[in-house]
């Protein structure tokens, strides 16, 4: 069994063509073939009716109109036109992209030395425990992890207390809270386990003898890192980027709790639209996130496919 700690990014199943079908060899009747696929039935209902259909519905809604709180099935680009005609919305869209890129980059930059340390310097038998420790916060309540930062960044929080204690300020400052830096900090905190886990998985497979060979041939550690290690880690880095960036794009809670007016992201706009019964406009905003995700996946598709460039 895969450890429960393995990330959703780690695909649990490999090619299973080795498993021979049961029963008599030769051609099988259509009933036995139906039985083979029957297990998909409930999943088909759950994911079809309650995942794919609603997503399709959102696509339709984004091209329909709300008139007097009723949705009219007239196909139009009005919702998108409206979104891009309001400067605040457009600014929020760019801010969302900017914050997501910054938080993802920061997560990976923080996670890489950590994963490197874990994979290279820690004895094998301790690696798993230390990895579980990193993932542990991830399996606690998402809401509480955001909330816990309020007790640190808030006016009465640890940060302010510390500054007052050192004499840096005389009264509480709300500088840490209700702005974009706070949002980025908390996002890094939330998604660090994702980044660390995927990078570690990639580093763990790396054959350090290659590193040594490079240095025997005269490469400096830095050259060995850039020319030998990082190219082989490319699929891992790509996976990490995808698994950190995508959920951040749709963040609602973090900007809501620690972002204030200046930290607003597109997720907050979407919630406001839907709470104001502006379903079609909200759908258009939601589809913009989906579009960004699709663009991201399309950009990284090639490097995702390259599983093992060295054929080891």
């Amino acid at each position: 069994m895969a450890a429960p700690g393995s990330s959703p990014g780690v695909q649990a199943t490999q090619s299973a063509d080795t498993a021979l079908p049961l029963g008599r060899p030769g051609r099988r009747s259509w009933t036995s073939r139906l039985g083979e696929y029957a297990g998909f039935g409930p999943a088909l209902v759950l994911f079809g009716l309650f995942f794919l259909v609603p997503l399709g519905l959102i696509v339709c809604y984004s091209f329909w109109q709300t008139v007097d709180y009723n949705v009219v099935h007239d196909w139009t680009f009005d919702n998108y036109r409206y979104f891009f005609s309001v400067p605040t919305y457009v600014r929020t869209l760019w801010a969302t992209v900017w914050v997501s890129v910054a938080a993802t980059a920061l997560t990976l930059v923080l996670a890489f030395p950590f994963a490197y340390w874990l994979a290279r310097y820690v004895p094998k038998r301790y690696q798993k425990v230390l990895l579980i420790l990193v993932i542990l916060p991830f399996w606690t309540s998402y809401l509480l992890r955001v909330y816990s930062w309020l007790t640190i960044l808030g006016p009465q929080g640890a940060m302010n207390r510390f500054l007052q204690w050192t004499g840096a300020t005389s009264k509480p400052v709300s500088f840490f809270l209700y702005d974009r830096p706070a949002v980025i900090l908390v996002l890094v905190y939330l998604y660090f386990p994702f980044g660390a886990l995927t990078l570690y998985a990639s580093l763990e497979r790396f054959d350090w003898n290659q590193f040594r060979a490079a240095m025997d041939l005269g490469a400096t550690p830095r050259t060995a890192m850039w020319r030998i290690l990082l190219p082989q880690m490319k699929p891992g880095i790509t996976t990490a980027v995808i698994f950190v960036f995508i959920p951040i794009l749709g963040e609602y809670l973090t900007p809501q709790l620690v972002g204030g007016a200046r930290g607003v992201m597109i997720g907050n706009l979407i919630v406001n639209f839907f709470q104001g019964a502006q379903y079609t406009r909200g759908a258009a905003a939601a589809l913009l996130i989906a579009a960004l995700i699709v663009v991201l996946l399309a950009v990284f598709r090639r490097s995702l496919e390259v599983e093992d460039p060295y054929g080891t």
């Binding site: 450890a3 429960p4 759950l46 309540s141 660090f192 590193f211 939601a286 989906a290 995700i293």
Partner: protein, 280 residues
């Protein structure tokens, strides 16, 4: 070993030391907020943050006597149990064809099945909101929340069970078949006992995820409250020590459940191994 190379050089030792400090800082970064939250929940200060004016368990007492919290707890557990049931059944059933059948688009189907984990929960929440209110004209209730959460939790069960099924020796089942066991008996006496640890881990996973789920529930719960939703409505007005205590309890519950998810499968596996020995 590449390792000796680093130990020999002074620079290698230095790198190693620096990285160890870095790792330590990372652990502090990851655990400090959670630890602080728990510390504050025992703080007598009624603002719920610094300074620490004394230690008390008063806030925990208040949590247990708050009827709103008790209501929310009942709803949360009811939803979590239903979500666990749905996602365990659906996820386990789907794991079989995913691993065993000759699927033409196996990788495509696998991506489609884990998509609900990948995409932001916000999208699942709003899209189901539209489906329930505007298409089905259904009143929002804990049941709609159960459906929404199940979409998100089922892939986790599916992945866990599929991984176990993958490492499953198919010849065991063929042997049972040769000995005359029909499909049902093979399932009942061979497959399910071997899969039990993974299914159990999946169920605990689903339960914990449901307990903590926030964003999908926010859209689909209607006028009811789950604990995360209750905490959210309280937090909007600021930090209170009571919420800190409730938060600490919820943290402890998820950590215990996750620990169980790690430990129980091993115990079950060992227990099941004992049974045939005794019979033989």
């Amino acid at each position: 070993m590449a390792r000796d190379l680093d130990i020999v050089s002074r620079r290698g030792r230095l790198t190693r030391g620096a990285l160890s400090v870095w790792a330590l800082l990372i652990y502090v970064f990851l655990f400090a907020p959670i630890v602080l939250l728990v510390v504050f929940s025992f703080n007598a200060n009624r603002y719920g943050t610094f300074p620490i004016t004394g230690w008390t368990t008063k806030w925990y007492g208040q949590v247990f006597h708050d009827y709103q919290i008790r209501d929310a707890l009942t709803t949360t557990i009811r939803i979590a149990l239903e979500v666990t049931l749905v996602s365990t059944v659906v996820g386990t059933a789907a794991a079989f064809p995913l691993v065993r059948s000759r699927l033409r688009f196996r990788s495509g189907i696998r991506i489609a099945l884990v998509l609900p984990i990948m995409i932001p929960g916000l999208l699942i929440g709003v899209s189901l909101l539209v489906l329930f209110t505007n298409v089905f004209h259904q009143e929002l209730s804990p049941t709609t929340a159960v459906i929404g959460q199940s979409v998100y939790t089922t892939p986790f069960v599916l992945l866990l069970v599929a991984a176990r099924l993958q490492g499953f020796d198919a010849s065991l089942e063929r042997a049972a078949s040769d000995l005359g066991a029909n499909t049902f008996k093979r399932l009942r006496y061979v497959v399910l006992p071997l899969l039990a640890p993974a299914i159990l881990a999946g169920a605990l996973f689903a339960f914990t995820l449901s307990l903590d789920e926030f964003i999908i529930t926010l859209f689909l719960i209607g006028s009811h409250n789950t604990l995360p939703i209750y905490i959210y409505t309280q937090v909007k007005f600021g930090i209170t020590p009571e919420v800190n205590a409730l938060a600490a309890l919820l943290l402890a519950a998820s950590l215990c459940l996750m620990a169980l998810a790690f430990v129980l499968p091993g115990i079950v596996r060992r227990a099941l191994r004992l049974v045939p020995r005794r019979a033989g």
